[in-house]
């Protein structure tokens, strides 16, 4: 590998790390949305009953 | 001045309690002694011929650190099993005295193991000089000071014995550097002062933060 390719590799790894982090946060966001929906339904049932 | 003597007597009482418990139960100390001897014998078979004395000395430190871990894993067992830790925490003594008492007790056990390990090492591998012994003593202080606090943290975890080496080894690296350097380097004194610095910094830190670790 040439020197220039190593530079590209180094910057590329940083880029990939940040993208990986974004993907993990996106997954967490999806889970939080699901949980909020569940709780909203629970609250709705509560207000219907009560 | 009387609060200081009160503190000292608390520490002494706690240390004596641990020593007496071990004298009666005899489960940790014999294990440590046998472990360190066995490890040294294993090293002979693990080291290829022509290995320098310096390399063997490095392995001595591995033996010491892992023997210490063996002792530290059991350090808080009496309190945990007897449910005594809550009682100690409620006792009117300073929480840091609990840490200091335990550290001193573990130091006694570790020193006993080293009194076996060093002559055995001198017999099996290479002689050990005064600077090296000073290094062992200073490093042991650091091992016990940091180790007893980390062992208290590990006692609170579900992973118990497994987590203690993970917590301890990164913090033990400077001690190993200091100990090995004191033994093999011509400027042994530099390594001794480094060990003293480590002991000072981390003993103060452990002394100050222990109460936060054990209170519920």
């Amino acid at each position: 590998m040439s020197q220039g390719q190593y530079v590209a590799l180094a910057y590329g790894v940083v880029f990939v790390f940040v993208l990986l982090w974004v993907a993990i946060i996106a997954a967490k966001l999806a889970r939080l949305e699901r949980e909020t929906d569940e709780l909203a339904n629970l609250a709705r049932e509560r207000s219907v009953d009560g | 001045m009387s609060s200081l003597t009160l503190y000292a007597s608390d520490v002494a009482a706690l240390m004596r309690k641990d020593l007496r418990l071990e004298l009666r139960a005899r489960d940790t100390l014999p294990a440590m002694l046998l472990f360190v001897l066995s490890t040294l014998v294993v090293f002979h078979f693990a080291l290829p011929t022509g290995t320098s004395d310096d390399a063997a000395y490095g392995l001595l430190w591995i033996a010491i650190v892992f023997t210490a871990l063996l002792g530290l894993a059991r350090a808080w067992a009496p309190e945990r099993e007897g449910g005594a830790l809550d009682g100690l925490v409620l006792a009117p003594c300073d929480r840091s005295a609990i840490w200091l008492g335990k550290t001193l007790a573990v130091f006694v056990f570790l020193t006993a193991a080293e009194l076996v390990a060093l002559p055995a090492f001198a017999l099996f591998f290479a002689p050990v000089d005064l600077v090296a012994i000073a290094g062992v003593v200073l490093a042991s202080v650091g091992i016990c000071a940091v180790g007893s606090l980390l062992a208290a943290m590990a006692a609170a975890s579900r992973g118990r014995e497994v987590i203690l080496p993970l917590l301890f080894l990164p913090l033990a690296i400077p001690l190993i550097v200091g100990g090995v350097g004191a033994g093999i380097s011509p400027q042994g004194a530099t390594y001794l002062s480094f060990l003293a610095l480590y002991d000072l910094i981390f003993a103060i830190l452990a002394w100050a933060t222990f109460e936060y670790v054990i209170t519920e």
């Binding site: 982090w21 939080l32 | 310096d54």
Partner: protein, 226 residues
């Protein structure tokens, strides 16, 4: 609390800054006379390392505040800063290793004190997460993690000296890198990269913190509703 949420602005600013930084580092800055193209890795590697130190320091600061003042908020903040520090620490090791390969032909050198220091710290902070996940949630876990975070920052200078001392008798094949005789453009580019990376860490911290706080709030809500 979020009526004046500056997070989107910060995120856009980070993107812009890092975009400029990459252009400066790869295209504008002059090539180093001694090291050639591989020196350009320095523009990201060093800011990432400095940012990792900053994150660990902030994690310890929040931990200290937790112990002295208290509050669940500070536990999450300390935890998140240490998480960022570990991420950037891992990146330091990876980019440092690539730079080592480019400069010296080896992926790892025990003679590179900076790399060795980060390896020790990386091990230490990985153990932080193991500790955190093995203790039951509660005030005691917060305090234990805070104490461990404080030990971490104490370890940084001590390890640094230990590794320096160790090189005396470990006799590694020491590779030296001529410290770049930085021209004004090079230094300016470095500063922009440093600012961009630091801002990136901060934005990542803020986003993660929102996630963790929301998690905690949702758990409370769930308990209240069921």
């Amino acid at each position: 609390m979020s009526s004046r949420n500056n997070l989107p602005v910060l995120a856009f600013a980070t993107t812009a800054l890092l975009g400029i930084a990459v252009v400066l580092a790869l295209l504008v800055a002059p090539e180093d006379v001694d090291q050639g193209v591989s020196q350009r890795i320095f523009y990201f590697h060093v800011p990432i390392a400095l940012t990792a130190y900053l994150c660990f320091g902030l994690g310890a600061w929040k931990a200290l505040r937790l112990l002295s003042v208290g509050g669940e908020r500070r536990d999450l903040e300390s935890y998140t800063w240490i998480h960022q520090g570990t991420i950037f620490g891992a990146l330091t090791l990876i980019t440092g290793s690539i730079w080592a390969k480019a400069s010296w032909g080896v992926w790892w050198s025990w003679g590179s004190n900076q790399l060795v220091l980060f390896l020790v710290l990386f091990l230490f902070y990985c153990a932080y997460f193991m500790l955190r996940f093995s203790v039951d949630e509660g005030a005691r876990r917060e305090r234990i993690c805070a104490v461990y975070a404080l030990f971490g920052v104490a370890l940084i200078p001590v390890s640094f000296f230990a590794i320096r001392l160790a090189s005396d008798f470990i006799h590694p094949t020491v590779f030296t890198r001529e410290g770049p005789q930085m021209t004004g453009t090079m230094f300016g580019s470095f500063l922009v990269c440093w600012a961009g990376i630091t801002l990136l860490a901060y934005v990542m911290y803020r986003i993660e913190l929102v996630g963790k706080r929301t998690d905690a709030n949702l758990r409370e809500l769930r308990e209240a509703l069921s």
